[in-house]
Symmetry: C2
């Protein structure tokens, strides 16, 4: 049995990004950039007005300044046809290019129009700060400069910046494909009635949703039973079509006997089995090395909470790596226990919990939980509270590690 850290390291070693693909910017949200994006132009591409007002020369802004002659008006999208000469001003709107000769823009609020047709303006501002009201060309970004590095996940701000720079298509890493096979003779799909001894397949839909939630493309392999031909076909489809194959369960002795042998026949080598962890000890991990890059195979425990915890701790970081993300997101921090918690201590334990911020501190409440079959408690949880190996009762107010989930 290995530690959580060792298991994480083993998995990370095989979780490398897959193919690049070019996609439309409109479809890019949630993908990871597979190239450094350089600035294709100075931004802004011209000296630009930051406010509505009058573009003027510095020398004309003074306490005894004359009324200025307004030469023209330039709005965003237009270009000035003239320069600003001494004693003159050009009316300018936010976003419009600054005319030649202008050294600052005086805000419209600090001016007074002297005649009905707006051809004469008096400045109420008496001191000139050169550059005021102007965003200089290239101030945000210089042509050629890398503005978003490869490996960054694309959020709304990245979409906005890529659009600003004119990238209608971008190169991203293909999202990892995750195939999920629920196994067990006792399983029936959610829509079917139960016969005695049967339960519904909850892990399959849950893990497919989790994969989607992590930005992966889910592939549903259905339910595997102890029919060798059918089971082998499903495993084989998973290995061919996906980057990650998840086999959930194996509590049914018949299936349990078949899966490991079949995976071996299909070229999957075991990397580890069992982790010092509660819930989730039975985690199995292997790789199919004949494919390049290797396919990852996770055997998740059949109990839904164990399966969810293993997904969160091991599969989510693996999927972030597979999707090309430069750094795995840190979802761990500390919080203060809002109630005492007796910990039996055999194994490092992740306990379903409710995390919230109160005024000045993060508090965490371990929820009443009946063990790895009790998925209901997880629908009330937003985090897992970590208790290391070693039996003791944790007191109210103690600081503990938490992991945000889902």
């Amino acid at each position: 049995m290995i530690s959580i850290e060792e298991a994480t390291r083993h998995i990370a070693q095989f979780a490398v990004p897959r193919d690049r693909e070019a996609i439309a910017l409109a479809d890019a949200l949630g993908h990871v950039l597979a190239e450094d994006v350089a600035c294709s132009l100075d931004s802004p591409p011209f000296d630009k007005a930051l406010v509505d007002g009058y573009a003027v020369r510095a020398e004309d802004v003074r306490s005894d300044g004359p009324a200025l002659r307004v030469l023209e008006e330039v709005t965003a999208g237009e270009t000035p046809t003239r320069g600003v000469e001494p004693g003159c001003a050009i009316r300018i709107m936010t976003g419009a290019p600054i005319p030649r000769g202008a050294e600052l823009v005086v805000m419209v609020e600090r001016t007074e129009t002297l005649n009905a047709d707006g051809t004469q303006v008096k400045l109420l501002q008496t001191e000139a700060k050169v550059g005021e009201g102007i965003l200089p060309r290239g101030k945000s970004m210089r042509e050629g400069e890398v503005v978003i590095p490869s490996g960054q996940r694309i959020r709304p701000a990245e979409i906005g910046l890529l659009a600003e720079l004119g990238h209608a298509k971008i190169n991203v890493w293909r999202k990892p494909r995750v195939a999920v096979l629920a196994t067990g003779n006792e399983l029936v799909p959610a829509g079917e009635d139960l016969r005695p001894g049967q339960i519904r397949n909850s892990n399959g839909p849950m893990l497919l949703a989790y994969a989607r939630r992590c930005g992966a493309t889910p592939i549903d392999l259905g339910i595997g039973r102890d029919e060798p031909g059918d089971l082998r076909a499903r495993l084989s489809t998973g290995l061919e079509s996906a980057d990650v194959l998840v086999v959930s369960g194996g509590v049914s002795a018949g299936v349990l006997d078949l899966v490991p042998g079949m995976l071996a026949e299909l070229g999957v080598e075991k990397v580890f089995h069992k982790v010092q962890l509660k819930p989730g000890k039975p985690l199995w991990f292997g790789v199919a090395q004949q494919a390049a890059p290797p396919r990852l195979v996770f055997g998740l425990p059949g109990n839904p909470v164990s399966s969810l915890v293993c997904f969160e701790l091991f599969m989510r970081p693996a999927l972030e790596r597979l999707s090309g993300q430069a750094a795995v997101e840190n979802r761990r921090f500390t919080a203060v226990l809002s109630q005492a918690h007796p910990h039996d201590g055999g194994r490092p334990t992740y306990w379903p919990a409710l995390l919230s911020f109160h005024g000045d501190a993060w508090r965490v409440e371990p929820l009443p939980w009946q063990g790895s079959g009790d998925l209901r408690t997880l629908t009330k949880a937003n985090s897992l509270c970590f208790f290391p190996a070693g039996a003791r009762t944790y007191a109210v107010g103690e600081t503990v590690e938490v992991v945000k989930i889902q």
Copy 2:
């Protein structure tokens, strides 16, 4: 000019969920439940083995206990054909139903098989705890009990629980539809070359992505210019097809002159204009009351960062309410400044920042930022750092409010 809190209250008043719809569980991730989900059966539906082992009577577990006769083996998905009589045991696998007469399951690790065909077993465990190794019927959930309340957003755990309970279809709130119209004569789409004075439409793609990110259905209304017929048609399409119409920009005087009048003609009443906020002061909000429930109309500032901040502070909570979520998610907490920050203080300010957890505390670093046109800094940010009105320099180590973004 109203406060951030007043603006939030005004918007909340009109942000009510829309229609219910029945969807397949496989498509439910990210939707919000529009009904209380009650348990359709006891869970587990039968007394169930928690471990692999032998189902026995308590009286047979003692230090001088006899070898027990193994009557049969039951695996998950099967049902026992016999009860457990005194002096007998039934071999049972995890997940299988407990046979009549059995009072506990002794783990296989605490037993010894006495003969090759497995018909005789000796228990190495000498004390009987009635109920050990058994998850009793209805222990997780009782038939009829509400297990997930209406208004809860569906995450992977909810998918799993709904599958376990056999809900192949569920009633959810329809996701809000958000139509985005970028306005400005200076705007061109990302794929086109720039002529002098032009810039690319970054707000449109960014806001559409933000809407998608918040679980809404985005509708792209393209770019609106000062051509009255075309502009009216786009606004009208937005009001007819969407729950929320977002008009971005209006820095171009021509369009600016047209939009408010057209919105009024189309039945949109102004609720407020301008908020005590930096960036984002020009925020405009109105409603079209002739539709029931009312359509919400946001006029977002043209500068991309102002627009992003307004989306985060005002539109995200509105979209959560529109999507039926019972409680708006709290994305605010406090962190410690990792560097000094001079705040000019005119208005309450949300400043782009990088939030991270270090050992024992959340630290926040306000990023070098050139104002509301500088979207690049937002691609490096994961939060906004809040500085209330009132000029002063915030010192390293001071605790400030932060909002997680994107």
